[in-house]
Amino acid sequence: MIDEAVIDRVLGTALRTGGEFAEVFAEDKRSSSALFDDGKVEELTSGRDRGAGIRVVVGDTTGFAHTADLTEAGLRTAAEAAAAAARGGGGGTRTVALTRRHADRGYAIETYPEDVPKARKVELLERADEVARATAGAISQVSASYGDSRRRILVANSDGVLAADDTVRTLFSVSTVASGDTGMQTGRESVGHTVGFELFDMVDVEEMARRAAGRALTKLQARPAPSGQMPVVIASGGGGVLFHEACGHGLEADLVAKGASVFKGRVGERVASPGVTVVDDGTMAKEWGNLAIDDEGNPAQRNVLIEDGYLTDYMWDLLRARKEGRPSSGNGRRQSYQHLPMVRMTNTYLLAGEEDPDAIVASTERGVLVKHLGGGQVNTATGDFVFGMTEAYLIEDGEVTEPLREGNLIGNGPEVLQRIDALGNDFAMGPPGTCGKDGQGVPVGDGVPTLRVSSLTIGGTAA
């Protein structure tokens, strides 16, 4: 994307006024999407975003500038702006010996989306619409969307790191509306992997369409969710986002350093029930949060955060790790070249236990089975979190009975970790997600086995 000699000179410019650390992050991203909605192909969109972000660190201050101009002159102007922003006052020149770092995700992309005719992408959407509508007359609206992106990045810094990566992601989703006497209900199914068009060898869009329709239809018969505290069983694959929010964010080193985490100063302590092991793993092949290198040029890693109930480590980006004199854990990510990197998760999951999932439900006298959680939110300083249940059922006398209308779950991260009293043997990853932090979104994955939390507050409307 940029010549090595040019990078060298740009880093030199960035360091000329006393910068202690400088970094060039260049990105060239092409994306395409297609939307089928309301019975027709509404539109196809193509996008191109290309540019570089340059940061310069002086003391505890980071200066940052970005440019869409990747010529040497453009990059040097941005480097000067970043250096000025960091208010470097010193002098002298430094040269940097760049060492190319190998980025390896361990598998190859089979079919690059740009090599696939647009007509084939459209056919998939039409098929999903047709199948969802054919499921039942009550399906009143369907929308299906396809998206792919190819993101090439190059990172070089004054520590001598030079790394490049080429990441392809492909996504497909189907949303439905079912209408009945009780009003309208919605259902959704989405699949995304860090792969090319071979995604459609891995998933069956017709099956996805049937499931999305089924979710909306089921909810037409749903009754209001109960309110108050009760046991909650989370189905395999359906609730990993809970742990992303409930403990993942609180284990990000930037929040820990500012005292904005309930997990600050607790490494080595028991923070979860025995048997609970939480991992953040950027190396999981083909998963939505997969990385070869992070956005600071560090190789993705599998990091165990909580092991058998004990807090083992936080997640780290480069600057926070440098300050602590330790290596980055490969968790420095950014939305685009226009943003500074910060500590972010990749694929976050709970390891499976040994119990039979059916037995977990059968041993729950009265509670809620959550098949799918929607988005959530956490206050990392207090640990309080909230989640929408997008598919849930009542458990009565150990049996799954009626479907429930939507409602929120509310709880506290550290408390939930202590209240996990059953772990199934049926681990699965959930649907692809986008994690938002400080206004930046990045792709993340999550997963859980079937598990039970002995008590959570369900926020329904029924007494």
Binding site: E43, T45, G47, A65, M184, T186, V262, Q377, D384, T457
Partner: protein
């Protein structure tokens, strides 16, 4: 700014016969300063630009965008948009906006002074904010963020159908997120102030709000589950209004995804509720003189004294519903125009929040909600959201409560509005807020 119109003109000049072409060209200059413990933590300053090209030919629409204004990129973007159009389904209503004779309002949304404000002054403001939060209360134990952010942006839209419009605005804000600690208990609170130049920012107000919000929740407990009357803080009301605005958008209505679709002319809210969308009010953070398709922005009354009076439209949904655009096309350069409310507000009453609390007797003041984006279904209207706030006992604010949810449906909530406050607040979002009293909301707690 003339150069943005020139660039858009150049793209549109390349239209083929029988082809409608639209070019949206934007440029922004953004500064973001974060401080921590008396030092600048990060300072980012950058110019960004982009172009979006929409092609409609034979009833088919295609779109492409790029984050660059280089001539070769413009060519590539136009070619991609044309190629994409080949795959769309023919839609007789597809097409660009056309001039409708409505005069573009003259709004004072751009302050040249912001463009010339030295960075040092902006840094000073962020540092002052952090100091003020710490000084506001001895129980403030930390500050997760204290920042100053500004943006100067300009946009031009040109179409083959005769639209040729440009606009620019300036905005800035300070925001902070503080932590308060007492014994084992930590609570958080945010504060902010928005304006169009530095003179209009109120740093001490932002600091006091953050400190008050954090400290008054110290010692909060989980309330029991029950049905109560709630008083929504203006900040909370604004978030709900944003969602209700979505349900009144022409796209949701035409595609059978709005709970209000068949209810025009019906009583959908308490007679106390008059809801307007008015991007021409310069006090609104999202005020604008033109919409995303270059038509004049205008004041629209959506609900009048509780009766649903209209939906909002862009050119496409207006045409498809047999009418016209209401000036509600919403977009960035990287997407085609969707339709939505731009600056929603309730016509305020006269009572202060204190008077509303006194009139309620017993209930809960909701200071903040969490998880609204996942907890509200704008199609069915069901909602359930995390909340925190203060008990109201005997007309007075009492002990703090947290870790509970409030739930109802948007339909019921609008009908259950018992009083609208007079404390209109302008917020950094597409809706403004007032205190609102709502009967019979389910609280789920212990």
């Amino acid at each position: 700014m003339g150069d943005l119109l020139d660039i858009a003109d150049q793209v549109v000049a390349r239209a083929n016969d029988g082809e409608q072409l639209e070019a949206v060209v934007v440029r922004g200059l953004d500064t973001e300063i974060r401080v921590y413990e008396g030092e600048v933590e990060s300072l980012a300053s950058a110019q960004s630009q982009g172009v979006g090209v929409r092609v409609v030919v034979g009833g088919r629409q295609g779109f492409a965008y790029a984050g660059s204004l280089d001539p070769d990129v413009l060519d590539e973007t136009l070619a991609e948009a044309r190629d994409n159009a080949r795959f769309a389904t023919v839609d007789p209503f597809a097409g660009l906006a056309e001039p409708d004779g409505v005069t573009v309002p003259t709004l004072d949304l751009y302050r040249e002074s912001l463009a010339h404000t030295p960075t040092d002054r902006k840094v000073g403001l962020a540092l002052e904010l952090e100091r003020a939060v710490r000084a506001a209360d001895g129980r403030i134990s930390g500050i997760e963020s204290a920042e100053y952010v500004d943006s100067l942006s300009e946009a031009a839209i040109v179409t083959t159908t005769g639209i040729r419009s440009s606009s620019r605005d300036s905005s800035c804000y300070v925001a902070t997120y503080a932590m308060a600690t007492e014994g084992p208990d930590t609570q958080t609170g945010f504060g902010f102030s928005v304006g169009r130049d530095l003179e209009s920012l109120d740093v001490s107000r932002a600091a006091t709000d953050a400190a008050d919000r954090a400290t008054r929740l110290l010692g909060a407990s989980q309330p029991p589950s029950e049905r109560v009357t709630v008083v929504l803080d203006p900040w909370v009301t604004a978030q709900f209004l944003g969602l209700i605005g979505y349900t009144l958008g022409g796209e949701a209505v035409l595609k059978g995804r709005s709970l209000f679709a068949e209810r025009l002319g019906e009583q959908v809210a308490s007679p106390l509720v008059t809801l307007v969308d008015d991007p021409t009010d310069p006090r609104a953070f999202t005020a604008t003189d033109t919409d995303g398709e270059g038509l004049a922005a205008r004041r629209n009354v959506l609900v009048a004294d509780g009766t649903l009076s209209m939906f909002v439209h862009n050119a496409y949904t207006g045409r498809r519903s047999g009418g016209a655009s209401t000036g509600n096309a919403v977009r960035g350069y990287s997407s085609t125009p969707s339709v939505g409310c731009m600056a929603v507000s309730l016509v305020p009453g006269t009572a202060s929040q204190g008077e509303l609390v006194a009139s309620v007797g017993d209930g809960v003041l909701i200071q903040d909600v969490a998880g609204l984006h996942s907890g509200v279904n704008p199609v069915s209207g069901d909602f359930s959201t995390g909340a925190e706030g203060l008990r109201i006992r005997g007309g007075e604010l009492a002990e703090p409560v947290r870790e509970f949810t409030i739930a109802s449906t948007l339909q019921r909530m609008l009908l259950d509005v018992a009083a609208v406050g007079g404390d209109l607040q302008w917020l950094p979002m597409n809706a403004s807020g007032v205190s609102l009293v709502i009967h019979d909301v389910t609280v789920s707690g212990a």
